[in-house]
Symmetry: C2
Subunit: 365 residues, 2 copies
């Protein structure tokens, strides 16, 4: 494709912090960001050239949006199928493509897709009824996790099943359609973030090690302590996935790293990802700029990471600690402009290069 | 002062690229940027939460602006005195303070201010009439430069006088009030960018070496090849200036560096500065974030610069080269979203860390 020239508009579905950071990356490259969101006064709209506030199924609003931008992308994977279809019908180029979104937003198609490509996952079974659950549990074993097939995030929409007695309650709680997953006794959680350009070029960042608390990412560090073979395997997997999907943009795959060094794919996110926020200060090109470059048909940027780095999420009232963080030398504070610090809500993050960079000492001779 | 909490609004007078980069830095810290500009569809307004488009002397609009923000700053020094006064009257905190703006926007008060603080300048004379010019020229010598006292920028508003015969034309061209300046046979042009917090703390970046073409900054590089004594002298000067002005925010002083190592103050800018754009990727804290921190009453950030760095301005049609720049590994491209690439107009810039950072090599041992 012909690269989208500076001055064009980049359309972003969703008004949260990922859209906000995408919009700023787009602006840095001379683009205008146009946000489509169902939320008034969203974090992204406050740094964007234009915002359309409408329901994600409002066809007239989607058509106006499609016609105002050079490409449409999304900050979340749960874009309704009819939203993507309406945008395509209105002539928009949607990147990543709707097929990739459709696969990633359904845990069953996602895991089936992984297995079809020879990528290991935890054992799983589709659950459409109480009876399915009873039949699947002996095969999957205990503990197992029952998840909704759609709309799960940050630990929402899942229940652990420790014994046969838990099954009825779990099913009553989540209903169908669901997915029963075996439990992985993993050593670490890691993710790989990569981008594929419109020309098919692929650039991956190194593996990120992730720690969660209450189902929500709390800390990401690099380098992940897992050696070059595992790095290479993760890159090979993400490349296979992106090529198979004819993917354009940034894609993230979360893995369980087993004690034997094996990688078990947990899920993928067809978008920039919380575990990639460290790239803003920690890599030559941020994941946000990389995504904009990819969807605009620009060449991908360098993914070089000069320093060890950690990223800490500020969740709920952790962001109230902004004064101390602002005082800490070398702590890069990011706050998302959310009005209301609800429990479990991602309010910001902090990135630290480790150790903090030292001044370059010129040779005065 | 009590630090302005995240979620507050930062008011910025001016809608150009400096306002745009300030607005994005404010957003990163969780602030909303409100722009006041007389220009529709300005570069800054396209990344800001809110924009008021009005004349800089529109008192009602200024009052509304003052009441919507926690602090007002400016991306340009030529803020009309009545604008600043109207904002103060409406209860706004203006940082830097109107006195600093008033001194910096008049070349005569600026040079007098420098000399009063014992800071060397080129010889100069106030020119209010043709006769003043004839009288001053023998003292100042040839070549000399006649400048308007106000509203000069990027080489505008100045004429060189090579001989007595040039004087009449020069005066006819610029008129009064003006300033006649002696010509410095300088070795290099350098600038120092520093910030002073609301608590009086000062943090300076290292000296920048600047190259100009046609009166417009074309390239900035660090480290400037001038040794620790000159660095220390420049810092001492900028500290003296900021303390004397009870200054809050980022301030820039441009110097001529003479062959004997002496610094001659050329002019000061009470704001973020083109020669500080390298700080976005090249320093721990960008000049834009530093300015926001200062005016918001936050602690200043680290000014550490880990790598040698260069910043190249993209002026006029130089920005048409964006495709090649986007392809260059390690080149950080910034485009300002200006619709019209007029000759001499600053359209963007590129920052390069030199040499480009290499990947950190973990010890898998």
């Amino acid at each position: 494709m012909t690269p989208l020239p500076p001055g064009s508009a980049i359309g972003i579905l969703g008004g949260g912090q990922l859209g906000r950071m995408l919009a700023m990356a787009a602006a840095q490259l001379g683009f205008d960001a146009h946000i489509f969101t169902d939320e008034e006064d969203s974090p992204a709209s406050r740094v964007a050239a234009r915002t359309i506030v409408a329901d994600y199924r409002d066809r007239a609003a989607l058509q106006a949006f499609a016609q105002s931008v050079g490409v449409v992308t999304s900050e979340f994977e749960n874009v309704p199928a009819e939203t993507a279809a309406a945008l395509v019908a209105a002539g928009a180029r949607v990147a990543p493509n709707p097929e990739a979104l459709a696969i990633a937003q359904d845990r069953l198609s996602e895991k089936t897709f992984f297995n079809d490509l020879g990528i290991a996952t935890a054992p799983f079974a589709a659950i459409d009824s109480d009876a399915d659950l009873s039949m699947a549990l002996p095969r999957i074993g205990f503990p197992a996790i029952l998840k909704t097939r759609r709309l799960g995030y940050d630990g929402q929409g899942q229940v652990r099943i420790r014994s046969a007695e838990d099954a009825k309650d779990a099913y009553a709680q989540l209903g169908a359609p669901g997915l029963l997953e075996g439990f992985c006794r993993f050593d670490r959680e890691v993710s790989v973030i990569a981008a594929r350009g419109a020309d098919g070029a692929i650039a991956a960042y190194e593996l990120c090690e992730n720690e969660h608390g209450g189902g929500i990412l709390s800390r990401t560090t690099l380098p992940a302590p897992c050696g070059p073979e595992v790095e290479a395997e993760a890159r090979a997997i993400v490349e296979r996935v992106m090529q198979r999907l004819d993917y354009v943009g940034v894609l993230t795959i979360e893995f369980f790293l087993m004690q034997d060094g094996g990688l078990i794919a947990n899920e993928m996110a067809p978008r920039v990802h919380n575990s990639g926020h460290w790239t803003i200060e920690g890599a030559s090109t941020s994941q946000f700029e990389q995504h904009v470059r990819a969807i605009a048909g620009w060449p991908l940027g360098s993914t070089t990471r000069p320093f060890p780095v950690e990223m800490i999420n500020l969740i709920g009232d952790a962001a109230d600690n902004w004064e101390a963080l602002a005082r800490e030398p070398g702590a890069h504070l990011h706050l998302y402009g959310k009005r209301d610090a609800r429990k479990g809500r991602k309010m910001g993050h902090v990135t630290r290069l480790l150790p903090p960079p030292t001044p370059y000492e010129p040779d005065y001779g």
